[in-house]
Symmetry: C2
Subunit: 324 residues, 2 copies
C-alpha cells in the first residue's frame, strides 16, 4: 500500500464510503466536489498534529494519532456551533513509519469520522526523512446566523465548562510514567488517547441560543479563557472550587487544579451564558456534566478565587508553540 502513490490513493479511496450525502467527487480527482445544505454557511478549520509536539511514537498508538488528529478539527467546528461534514488529510509521513502504522492511523481517523458522519474527501501525502506531520482540515456547516463566536461574552455572563478538565494531561502523565495502568487510570488514559469532540453540545448551545460565546479547550482552561476574554474585550473571575478537575474514583490526584487549569487537549467546551438564561442550562447534556465555574467581568484579566477568598491573577499557562 505504500509502494506507490497511486496504490496508496486507491487503497485510501477503498476505505471511504462512496455515495455519501453531499459528496459528489471524493478522493482521486484534482479536488473534491461537495455540497452543503441550502441556508447553511461553511465552517473551515485546519489543525496540525506533529510527531514530537502533539504525539510521540512511544506514548501514542497510530490509532490514537489518527483519532486525535481529526478530533482537534472536529472540536473546532463544535466550538463554532457547527456540524462537521468533510475532511481533507495531509500527511507528511516519516520514512521509518511502517505500512501497519499508516493503516492503523487511518483506521483511527476513519472510525472517528464514521462516528460523526464526516467524509474524508482528499488531502495530500508525501514521505519525509524527518518526523511525521499530519494536517487535518474540516469543512462543516452551520445554519445561517447560528454560529457561535469567541467574542460575544458580556459582563455578568456566567462561565461554564463541559466534562472534566485536566483528564487528558493526567492521562498523558500516566502514559509517560511507563508504569502499568491500573483500572482506575482508564478514564484519564482514554481521555488523552481518544478525546471526544463535543459537536452535539456545540450545536445544542447554538440552537437553544444559550451561549453568548464559545471556545474549545485545546490549550488549557487558563489559555482558552484568556482567548475568549480577549476576543470579547472583557475579563473573568473563576472559582477554584468550582472547576471540575480530574478525579479518580478513589484518592487524590496530585496537582489536580494545575492540571485542570493548564492541562490542555481536553477538547471540552468553554462557554458563557447571559444571566437571564442560566436557568435553562442543564446540569448534564446527555452524559456530559456542565459546570458553572465563574463570571465574566468588565475589568480585563482573569482572576482565580481560592476557597479562602483570595483572588490571584490567572495567566495563560497552556501551550504556546512559539514560546517553547
Amino acid at each position: 500500500m505504500l509502494r506507490t502513490e497511486t496504490e496508496f490513493v486507491s487503497w485510501l479511496r477503498a476505505q471511504v464510503p462512496s455515495g455519501a450525502r453531499g459528496l459528489e467527487i471524493g478522493i482521486g480527482d484534482d479536488g473534491a466536489i461537495v455540497e452543503v445544505r441550502r441556508g447553511h454557511k461553511l465552517v473551515l478549520k485546519a489543525d496540525m498534529s506533529i510527531e514530537g509536539v502533539h504525539f510521540t511514537r512511544r506514548v501514542h498508538s497510530p490509532r490514537s494519532v489518527g483519532h486525535r488528529a481529526l478530533a482537534r478539527s472536529l472540536s473546532d467546528v463544535a466550538a463554532m456551533g457547527g456540524t462537521p461534514r468533510f475532511a481533507l488529510t495531509s500527511l507528511a509521513i516519516s520514512r521509518v513509519a511502517t505500512r501497519a502504522w499508516l493503516r492503523e492511523l487511518y483506521a483511527g481517523m476513519l472510525a472517528l469520522a464514521k462516528q460523526f458522519a464526516v467524509i474524508l474527501v482528499g488531502g495530500d501525502t508525501a514521505v519525509v526523512a524527518g518526523k511525521t506531520v499530519l494536517d487535518v482540515m474540516v469543512a462543516g456547516e452551520v445554519k445561517r446566523g447560528m454560529e457561535l463566536r469567541r467574542s460575544g461574552a458580556r459582563p455578568g455572563d456566567q462561565i461554564y465548562v463541559s466534562g472534566r478538565l485536566g483528564l487528558s494531561a493526567l492521562g498523558l502523565r500516566l502514559l509517560e510514567s511507563g508504569r502499568r495502568p491500573s483500572p482506575q487510570d482508564a478514564g484519564a488514559i482514554r481521555a488523552h488517547l481518544y478525546p471526544e469532540p463535543r459537536c452535539a453540545l456545540g450545536r445544542y448551545l447554538s440552537r437553544q441560543r444559550l451561549a453568548s460565546a464559545l471556545i474549545d479547550i485545546s490549550d488549557g482552561l487558563s489559555t482558552d479563557l484568556a482567548h475568549l476574554c480577549e476576543s470579547s474585550g472583557v475579563g473573568a473571575r473563576v472559582r477554584a472550587d468550582l472547576i471540575p478537575g480530574p478525579e479518580f474514583p478513589t484518592g487524590h490526584v496530585p496537582n489536580s487544579l494545575d492540571l485542570a487549569l493548564h492541562g490542555g487537549e481536553d477538547y471540552e467546551l468553554l462557554f458563557t451564558v447571559p444571566p437571564g438564561k442560566t436557568g435553562q442550562v442543564p446540569v448534564r447534556f446527555r452524559d456530559l456534566p456542565l459546570h458553572r465555574i465563574g463570571e465574566i467581568r468588565r475589568s480585563k484579566g482573569v482572576a482565580l478565587v481560592r476557597p479562602d477568598g483570595t483572588a490571584t491573577p490567572l495567566g495563560p499557562g497552556g501551550y504556546d508553540h512559539f514560546s517553547k
Copy 2:
C-alpha cells in the same frame, strides 16, 4: 511577530483584508465562517510543500515558497473548472527560520491570493525542530454541474496542453547549477519560482463545455496523462513533435523533450476535447498558447510517437512520493 502565538495570529490577521465577499469570520476564532454563492458547489483541495522535497532554502526564496505553496492548490481548483475563494494555511515552521523569512513567505502567498481574490481565513501554526512543512487548503466554488473531472475522456478525443511544458524543471536546473542566470533564463526561472495557476482557462473550458476531461500537470505530462487515462479507462497517443517543450529565444535546450514529458511542477492544464468541438478551441486563451498534442485511444497505455513514426510506450516519469 514570532514571539508568541497570539502575536503571530494578530500579525497575520492584519495582513488579510477584512470584509471580503463571503467572509463572515476569518482568522482568530475557532474556525472560519464563509459562504459560497447559491447554486455553486464546493471544491476542496489540500497540497503540502515540504522543505527538501518541494523546495530548498538554497534555491527558493521564502517569497517563492509561499507563492508556490498556494499555487499548487489553486491549480487543483483550476483543474476542476472552479474558482478558488478561501484558503487555510498550516505551517510547521523550522526553528531555524527567521522572522524575515516567515514574513516573506506570507508576502509571497498573500500576493498570489490577492491576484486571485482568495481570502486567507485561517490555519494552524507550530514551530518544529525539523524542516518546514506547509499545507495549504483551498475551498473554491464551481457552478452546479460544471465541474470537470479526470474521468471524462473518450476514444477519439483530442489532447491539449496549455503553455509550455518542462519550463519549471529547466528553471530549477538553472537555479541549482548556481551559475549566474542570463536574461534568456528568466522565463524558465520565473516559471519555476512563480508558477501561474490556470484558473481562468479552467473556468473557460468549463463554461464553454469544451473539455471532456481536465487535469493539471503537477507531476509531469507523462504521469498526469497516465492519471487522466486511468481515470477515464482509456489510452492515449501523443506526438513528440507537437509537445511544446521549453524553448529559449536562442539555441537548443538539452533534453528538451524529457523535461517536457517528465519535468513536473508546470501547473499547466492538460485537457481532452471531443472531435466535434476541436474547431472551437482557440490557438491562444488570452496570452496562453493551447497546443494539441495527441489523441485518446480505446487501447490502454500511453504511446509516444517520434517524428520518424516509431511509437514507444510512455511510462509515468514524474515524481512519486512513495517510490523515492
